[in-house]
């Protein structure tokens, strides 16, 4: 009796072990890797920054300096710091409002009015945001500075009428330049929303006799509020994190990134830089909170079985107005790109006009930048592939599996998206710099990791937005028929979300090719990239060579984006959703 009992027990034991090994752990492991990655390379560095903000400020001292609120006290007791905080808020709020004012009508015009060359408009319309802000800022000085060619020309034209264009330096110039740089976020998102919104709702309104204005106010605009909120947040974050434009044309109107650079680059004081970074995060966090509040009340899902084409305005007046409006905005916002292309064929542009036509800026690239070109493309492409895999798996987990703490996961993935680049870089530097346990500076790995941390949100957002709109019934059917989760993921989910993966990856690749703020703090002798070289050339005032390199990147980026926009189903705006 007792023998039999023991046999049964043994049997149960072996069974348990057998079951344990038979259980499909692949799902768990695949989920665990991104989690560990996030914990080590994101939460740990960000945690260190948060902690350091409460250490006593100290120059060139990376060891523990004692707990204190000294950093914050210093900040709030100095006039210049408080003024800079004020400037940051004024600039980013104004830029956000102005971007909405320009971007929404332009998105509407391109989506809803019958105008020629839409694909080209949408592709060109994203270029302003894809340029290192430092280079962009210099081109604005060349165009609109005291001796700027455009300003002089306009003054000559408008002079007889008694109008003079003011100098670009100061708050007005900063706001203008940032608006022209960042409005594409609003334009792309509202274009996506206006062309994607269900036309049946508007038609129903029309059939019931509602006037156009009423339909606009009660149906169309509310439908695009979520996209608009996301775009506005993006613009705000970019504007408050921009270092280049205020540095070059802000004059004495400093902003928060200027102060971070003073603390870190001027004094080697990571602790004080962290205190300022934390203040920056508090502001962005508050804006994020407000944005979520506004949008959450207006989250609509339009479900339809049939797709109807939206009726386009085709009146001659509307078409003319829309074409001219879009053209003016596009021409103005692309002036920096045009300037760069022109400048790339000249030795220099230090006066009114460029001097010394030459092709040598291009001819010297293979010799001087061969390694940098390789590094840029190798790092950007590898990081993009890794972002695509990680981003889609993470999106799949949070959207479909809905694990406990999904909201927290969501927030941590998105954190680098809403944090200024310098803040993330300083976090990575203090976590993985030479003195730390994981010394990684100067390796390809640290750049790949920082690129992944900063850019995974593009694919992640793009895919999870797509998944929410995708009925899970197809996946359920696959599972019921006996497929493993991975088979289902690979054969059913991935093909369905492919357009989203592609648009997220394109955003990742194009912005990585131009990445400067993280790379500059983390690159080593073997890992120098093209944007670093461009930045150095700009600082040496060697604008010709800097422009030639920028032009090459610009052409590559445009080719990728135009190629994607020509595919059906993919569009850049889905990568920008929050």
């Amino acid at each position: 009796m007792s023998r039999k009992y023991s046999i049964t027990e043994n049997g149960a034991e072996t069974n348990k072990i057998k079951k344990f090994f038979q259980k499909d752990f692949s799902q768990l492991i695949v989920f665990a890797i991104p989690m560990i990655f996030l914990a080590v390379f994101l939460l740990y560095p960000m945690g260190i920054t948060l902690v350091r903000a409460f250490w006593t400020p100290a120059s060139f001292n990376f060891k523990f300096t004692g707990w204190s609120l000294e950093g914050f006290r210093q900040f709030f007791s100095t006039r210049m710091y408080i003024r800079s905080l004020g400037n940051s808020i004024i600039v980013s709020v104004s830029v956000t409002l102005l971007c909405i004012l320009i971007g929404v009508p332009m998105g509407y015009c391109v989506a809803r009015v019958k105008i020629p060359g839409k694909k080209l408009l949408v592709s060109l319309g994203i270029l302003p945001i894809i340029m290192p802000s430092f280079v962009g800022a210099y081109t604005w000085v060349i165009l609109l500075g005291n001796k700027g060619v455009l300003r002089v020309a306009l003054n000559w034209l408008l002079g007889p009428l008694g109008i003079t264009i003011p100098s670009i330096y100061g708050m007005f110039g900063m706001i203008l330049c940032m608006t022209l740089t960042y409005f594409p976020f609003v334009f792309q998102m509202s274009y996506g929303a206006f062309s994607g919104a269900n036309a049946l709702l508007e038609e129903a309104g029309m059939l019931m006799g509602a006037k156009r204005g009423y339909i606009m106010r009660t149906i169309t605009l509310p439908l695009i509020i979520p996209s608009l909120g996301a775009a506005a947040l993006l613009v705000f974050v970019r504007a408050i994190g921009n270092f280049g434009i205020p540095a070059v044309i802000g004059g004495n109107n400093y902003v928060l990134p200027t102060l971070i650079s003073f603390a870190y680059q001027g004094d080697g004081d990571i602790n004080f830089a962290s205190s300022i970074a934390v203040l920056n995060v508090i502001i962005t966090g508050t804006v994020l909170f407000v944005q979520k509040k506004i949008v959450a009340k207006r989250e609509y899902e339009t479900i339809s079985a049939t797709h109807t084409d939206i009726k386009l305005h085709d009146g001659i007046g509307a078409r003319l107005f829309a074409s001219i409006f879009c053209l003016i905005i596009l021409v103005f916002s692309l002036l920096p790109q045009v300037t760069i292309i022109v400048m790339s064929f000249f030795k220099n542009w230090t006066g009114l006009l460029p001097v010394g036509f030459t092709l040598s800026n291009y001819a010297s690239i293979p010799k001087n930048s061969g390694k940098e070109m390789f590094n840029s493309f190798f790092l950007s492409i590898t990081a993009t592939l890794m972002c695509a895999v990680f981003g889609s798996i993470l999106a799949y987990i949070t959207e479909r599996k809905k694990p406990r703490g999904a909201a927290l996961l969501d927030l941590s993935i998105m954190a680098p998206f809403i944090l200024p680049g310098t803040v993330v870089s300083i976090a990575l530097l203090s976590a993985f710099g030479g003195n730390s346990a994981f010394k990684m500076t100067g390796t390809y790995a640290i750049l790949l990791i920082s690129y992944m941390i900063r850019r995974t949100p593009y694919v992640y957002r793009s895919v999870s937005a797509n998944l929410t709109q995708l009925n899970p019934s197809l996946e359920e059917a696959s599972t019921i028929s006996g497929a493993t989760w991975f088979y289902t993921f690979r054969r059913v989910s991935v093909p369905l979300i492919m357009p989203a993966i592609i648009s997220g990856s394109v955003m990742t690749l194009t912005t990585l090719l131009q990445e400067l703020s993280t790379t500059i703090l983390l690159y080593g002798p073997k890992t120098r990239t093209v944007p670093i070289q461009i930045y150095n050339k700009v600082l040496e005032n060697n604008l010709g060579q800097a422009s030639a390199l920028s032009t090459i990147l610009l052409i590559v980026v445009f080719a990728i984006i135009y190629g994607m926009n020509s595919r059906k189903g993919s569009d850049v705006s889905s990568a920008l959703k929050m």
């Binding site: 060139f60 070059v248 010394k439």
Partner: protein, 326 residues
């Protein structure tokens, strides 16, 4: 299931391969390589590398170019720099514990004030701060002659300077503090004159070259390089003189190529090396080499005392006082 596991394993393999590959990259530095951390410009670093490798073709040299303060941070954080070049004295002093004592072959050419007493660094050049103005914009009696001229209302809105949070910007602030008799009165007047203080020290000279601003204070080399390009600018040594500052090179503790680093130190402190420094329009400290082309010789310049120790000690409080003005 098997297939899914295989796919996952391949993914993992790729990831490990990338990480391991990068680790290897870091360790594979051979005996005859050299990594320079350069505080000068990219082109200046390349000039040094070209001249050095012409002499030692078997040494492969790479550079990391960054701002002086960033290089200091990187060295203090333990990055594997072999030598640091063109770094201001205040930053060299900050990284003293990370520098190696090495008495170069040319030691005798350098007087005590041009080297660290333990031979941890040698001053290869002097970043002398001078006025630079746009010759199209300032003519005749509009051309200033003295530091105190900058407070004159006729220069309202025409002056651009580096913020005292930058290395050279602070040196200028300290000099003005000494000139006004240990106070910031002159600085106050210049701020009231709507001078612009830019967050980096290279944009100011570029602005004067373009004619965006009329006048700035900057290192001699920026004036020399702009003049060589044919830009409408020139230098002006104010009548009170300027402060004598030094910048230089040293070998880092964490470098993997100490032998090559020593060869580089011998080279850059030699007359040959000094000529490379000179070709950047920097003022070489080597006694056998003259001033940069087109600029007066060291003997013809007037200096007033510049006390590095005091400058470092007062840095925080002077910066804070300045921040209260802006």
């Amino acid at each position: 299931m098997k297939r899914s596991l295989a796919v996952f394993l391949v993914l993992l393999l790729v990831l490990t391969a990338v990480l391991v590959g990068c680790k290897k990259e870091q360790k594979s530095t051979g005996p005859m390589e050299l990594v320079i951390y350069n505080g000068g410009s990219d082109a200046e670093g390349q000039k040094m590398i070209d001249a050095f490798t012409a002499k030692y073709p078997n040494i492969k040299v790479t550079q990391v170019q960054d701002k002086s303060a960033n290089i200091t941070t990187r060295v203090l954080q333990g990055e594997e720099a072999d030598v640091v070049t063109l770094i201001g004295k205040e930053n060299l002093d900050a990284m003293l514990d990370h520098l190696v004592s090495y008495k170069t072959a040319n030691d005798k050419k350098y007087t005590a004030e041009l080297k660290e007493h333990d031979y941890k660094y040698y001053a290869t050049s002097m970043p002398l701060q001078v006025f630079m103005y746009n010759t199209d914009m300032l003519k005749g009696d509009m051309i200033p002659t003295s530091w105190f001229d900058l407070s004159h209302p006729k220069y309202k809105g025409l002056i651009v300077l580096g913020s005292p949070s930058t290395g050279s910007g602070y040196a200028q602030l300290y000099m003005m503090y000494k000139l006004s008799g240990d106070n910031l009165n002159l600085v106050k007047d210049i701020v009231a004159n709507k001078a612009v203080y830019l967050p980096d020290s290279t944009s100011g000279p570029a602005g004067v070259e373009r004619g965006e601003y009329a006048i700035t204070i900057t290192g001699e080399k920026n004036v020399g390089q702009a003049m060589a390009k044919g830009s409408p600018v020139t230098y002006l040594y104010p009548k009170e003189g300027t402060g004598r500052r030094i910048e230089g090179c040293g070998i880092c503790v964490n470098g993997k190529n100490q032998e090559a680093a020593k060869l580089f130190m011998d080279f850059i402190t030699s007359k040959e090396g000094a000529e490379v420094i000179l070709s950047m329009s920097r003022r070489s400290t080597h006694p056998d080499v003259g001033g940069p082309a087109g600029l007066p010789g060291l003997k013809d310049l007037k200096f007033f005392p510049y006390d590095d120790a005091e400058a470092s000690k007062l840095k925080k409080s002077l910066q804070a006082e300045f921040n209260g003005l802006l």
